[in-house]
């Protein structure tokens, strides 16, 4: 694979005078520079089909490639597949890239794709992303062509295949690794694993045989710094060059610091406060609407998120494909809320408990909501559950109200709506509000099974209006990614799904 023209990394740039280096941030510091990245936890496994947690994805995405990926603007660009065609409603054919080598020196072929997809489908952790694909309908056409088929039409299939969890793995490498598959990643990506001190840091090294433009920095180290404040301090004191997930209250510290840059953009995440729609009085839409009116979301965004992100108008963030851009957030109007409650038959309010897990932000939200609801006569209290019980008990429907978040990783409305609002998805599967509306089910099914863009769009526009109106949630907040970087860093780009590719990152002087 030819080296890209332009800056030859072999050329010593470190000899530039220091003062100029400050200006010319893009100049590579030196050949063996290490970029340190801090995130809030360590990767759990480096097997893409192992765990689907953010921290792991953020590391793996540097080492593994998917067939195709979505840009931040939701356009599909080729990675390991160079082109794809919809053969019929149920089948897509992929042409694979030629001359790609795995980190272990093997050639990348159609067999790997077949193996990887089947393996992903079987994986308990990531299987649900691709389980609409029929494993028997994954066919190798020739060494560089693969067909993928579903049993029913599935609109967002490409989006799902772009999910970083559906990365390609090498059959031989996986088999050779045996029990160690989680710690011996073999991908095709721009970086390969150098060393992993589990719990502490992961060191990556440039893959010089990368099929595309090689990474600009030779080494990247992901450090696990769990305390938010510490990540900021590490960034300030030069211990790391890039810090992910800056706490909202640290925004000003980075913005005010001449040596640092805050990179921020909306992401695909949403935070919501769900009702238990199967339980009195939350089974009444009026009650749910009233509560939506009773919560001053601007205050929450200000107090809890320090103005970071946006208050949510509906179930999807505006950057998600098929998001309804016309939805209006519920107006804060406690008087109206009281009236509506009275109409619904609760003039004196009632008792309710808001559940959260031990997440500080959610607790803060709950505290405020709890307080605001008391002002319209609802005697709200809050209870913090340990994560395990929290998930179990909300899945079992034992709650009144609960706070959770959701990230529409694929950037597609289906991913952001189906599991959460379809009545087939009660409980564990995602619909913890036990919200059921036949029309919504119908529309979600259309959106999912149609492969016609326009049909899907229409269905999603309507369904979002209904959901907003029915208000199984208090629509709370659409998230924003905050990453702090040193000014020495250039080439860092966000991605709304949260996993940032770092191969363009350069550490300057």
């Amino acid at each position: 694979s030819p080296a890209p023209a332009g800056d030859d990394p072999a050329e010593p740039a470190g000899e530039e005078p220091a003062e100029e280096g400050g200006e010319e941030a893009t100049e590579p510091a030196d050949e063996d520079a290490v970029v340190f990245v801090a995130q809030g936890s360590d990767a759990v496994t480096l097997d893409p089909h192992g765990q689907n947690d953010q921290a792991s994805s953020r590391v793996r995405v540097q080492m593994f490639d998917t067939l195709l990926m979505q840009t931040k603007d939701l356009e599909y660009v080729p990675l390991l597949a160079t082109e794809w065609t919809q053969v019929d409603d149920l089948t897509i054919e992929f042409k694979l890239r030629e001359g790609v080598k795995w980190h272990n020196g093997e050639d990348f072929t159609a067999d790997d794709v077949v193996y990887s997809l089947r393996r992903a489908i079987e994986s308990p952790s990531v299987g649900q992303i691709v389980n609409m694909i029929n494993p028997d309908k994954i066919e190798k056409v020739d060494d560089l062509t693969v067909r993928v088929g579903t049993d029913e039409p599935f609109g967002p299939l490409l989006a799902h295949l772009s999910h970083p969890a559906i990365s390609m793995v090498n059959e031989k490498a996986v088999t050779d690794a045996g029990d160690n598959v989680d710690i011996t990643p073999v991908g095709t990506g721009p970086y390969k694993l150098k060393n992993w001190a589990r719990g502490d840091y992961v060191e990556l090294e440039r893959n010089d045989d990368y099929w595309g433009e090689p990474a600009k920095t030779k080494y990247i180290t992901f450090r696990n710094v769990s305390e938010n404040a510490n990540r900021t301090i590490e960034l300030e004191t030069g211990g790391v060059h890039i810090a992910y997930d800056i706490a909202p209250n640290d925004v000003s510290k980075i913005e005010d610091n001449a040596d640092l840059t805050l990179v921020r953009d909306a992401n695909f995440s949403t935070t919501y406060i769900g009702f238990n729609a199967s339980k009195e009085p939350f089974d009444k839409p009026e009650v749910r609407q009233a509560i939506n009116h009773a919560v001053n979301m601007d205050e929450i965004v200000e107090a809890v998120y320090f103005g970071v992100g946006n208050k949510a108008a509906g179930p999807l963030g505006s950057n998600v494909a098929f998001a309804n851009q016309d939805l209006e957030p519920y107006e804060y109007n406690p008087e109206l809320a009281k009236e509506m409650l009275a109409e619904a038959g609760y003039p004196d309010g009632f008792d309710l408990v808001i559940w959260t897990n031990d997440n500080q932000v959610r607790q803060d939200i709950a505290e405020i909501v709890q307080n605001q609801l008391q002002q319209i006569g609802i005697n709200a209290s809050m209870e913090v559950l340990e994560w395990g019980s929290y998930l179990a008990n909300t899945a079992a429907g034992e709650h009144d109200m609960f706070i959770l978040g959701w990230t529409t990783v694929t950037g597609d409305a289906d991913y952001g709506l189906y599991a959460l609002f379809h009545s087939s998805q009660f409980g564990d599967a995602g619909n913890r509000t036990f919200y059921k509306n036949d029309r919504v089910d119908e529309l979600l099914d259309i959106g999912r099974t149609s492969v016609v863009e326009a049909d899907r769009a229409a269905a999603y526009q309507e369904v979002q209006e209904i959901i907003r109106e029915d208000a199984p949630w208090i629509f709370t907040w659409n998230g924003e990614d905050l990453v702090g970087t040193s000014n020495k860093i250039s080439g860092f780009e966000l991605h709304p799904a949260g996993h940032y590719r770092l191969h363009n990152v350069v550490l300057g002087q």
């Binding site: 031990d358 803060d364 405020i368 809050m382 209870e383 913090v384 559950l385 395990g388 019980s389």
Partner: protein, 298 residues
């Protein structure tokens, strides 16, 4: 005959006419210890404040107003306000109840169970002793904070569970202390004397062993309250403490930690409150140790 032998004593030692209580004696000694009295004073002050929280600080602990958040100490909010605009002092004063009662109840739990187990082990010895102490060894081998974390994560948070967790995790310590003092006491001649006049096991335990084993327990208990408050704070830090908006000091401290650089009152005051309380408890504990130490008698 016998009488004239004895009563001829001109310079008798300290002798009182009215009924005297030995606790008064302890109190007298304690009063001489300035540091211990300082500790006691601080604690009494805290308890009084905590009990009269509703009267003194009627705003309560959940008087939010986002617009007045992050105020520095001022004439209305002596300790400033927190991230939701609540008075830090108001919260701390109401929180004193929670924190102090966590300490108190947790220690009560561990004293009651630890004391019972330790007394049984020490008094009966042999197999009973072996079984109890070996089981407690097992408990001791699990770090107490981990034990507490596991218990809270098993039972869920909440005041009672936190107290229970902290209490259970310090049972082995008390059991050992009680056992040690029971064993020492058991060998004392006055226990044998009680047997000789026909006292039952029950009477011996209740009348002779427990009152005498009390001193180290009281000392340890005082220090234990301090330990329990710290443990509860640690649990809050891990996110397993008391649910907000309950203003437990440890929860306030760990909740405020994200603002430690932006708004110092949120961590400083609860931190100081914890520190001063524990400081006071330690002073009192050390003082009690001296006041109760029979070696220093006479």
């Amino acid at each position: 005959m016998a009488k004239n032998v004895a009563t001829a004593s001109a310079s008798a030692p300290v002798v009182a006419d009215k009924k005297r209580n030995q606790w008064k004696e302890v109190w007298r000694r304690l009063k001489q210890n300035k540091m211990a009295m300082l500790g006691l004073g601080i604690l009494v002050f805290m308890v009084i404040i905590a009990l009269s929280a509703d009267l003194l600080f009627p705003k309560g602990f959940d008087d939010q107003m986002i617009s007045r958040r992050f105020q520095l100490p001022n004439s209305e909010y002596w300790f400033g306000t927190d991230n939701l605009g609540r008075g830090i002092l108001d919260r701390m004063v109401h929180g004193a109840r929670v924190s102090l009662s966590i300490g108190l109840f947790a220690v009560t739990i561990s004293i009651v169970f630890g004391g019972l187990l330790g007394a049984m082990a020490g008094f009966y010895g042999g197999k009973v002793d072996n079984i109890i102490m070996r089981s407690l060894d097992v408990l001791l081998a699990i770090p107490s904070i981990l034990l507490a974390i596991s218990i809270v994560s098993a039972l869920g948070g909440g005041l009672f569970n936190v107290m229970l967790a902290v209490g259970i995790s310090s049972i082995p310590g008390y059991a050992r202390i009680v056992r040690a003092s029971v064993i020492t006491l058991k060998g004392q001649e006055f226990i044998e004397a009680a047997r000789a006049i026909g006292a039952s096991d029950k009477r011996i335990i209740l009348r002779h062993i427990i009152p005498n084993a009390l001193a180290p327990i009281i000392v340890q208990g005082t220090l234990g309250v301090a330990g329990a408050i710290l443990s509860a704070a640690g649990l809050s830090f891990i996110g397993l403490g008391l649910a907000p908006p309950n203003p437990e000091w440890g929860a306030m401290l760990s909740g405020g930690r994200q603002f430690i650089r932006d708004h110092w009152p949120m961590t400083l005051f609860p931190g100081l409150a914890i520190m001063i309380t524990i400081f006071a408890l330690n002073l009192l504990g050390d003082g009690l140790r001296d006041a109760l130490d029979p070696k220093l008698r006479n």
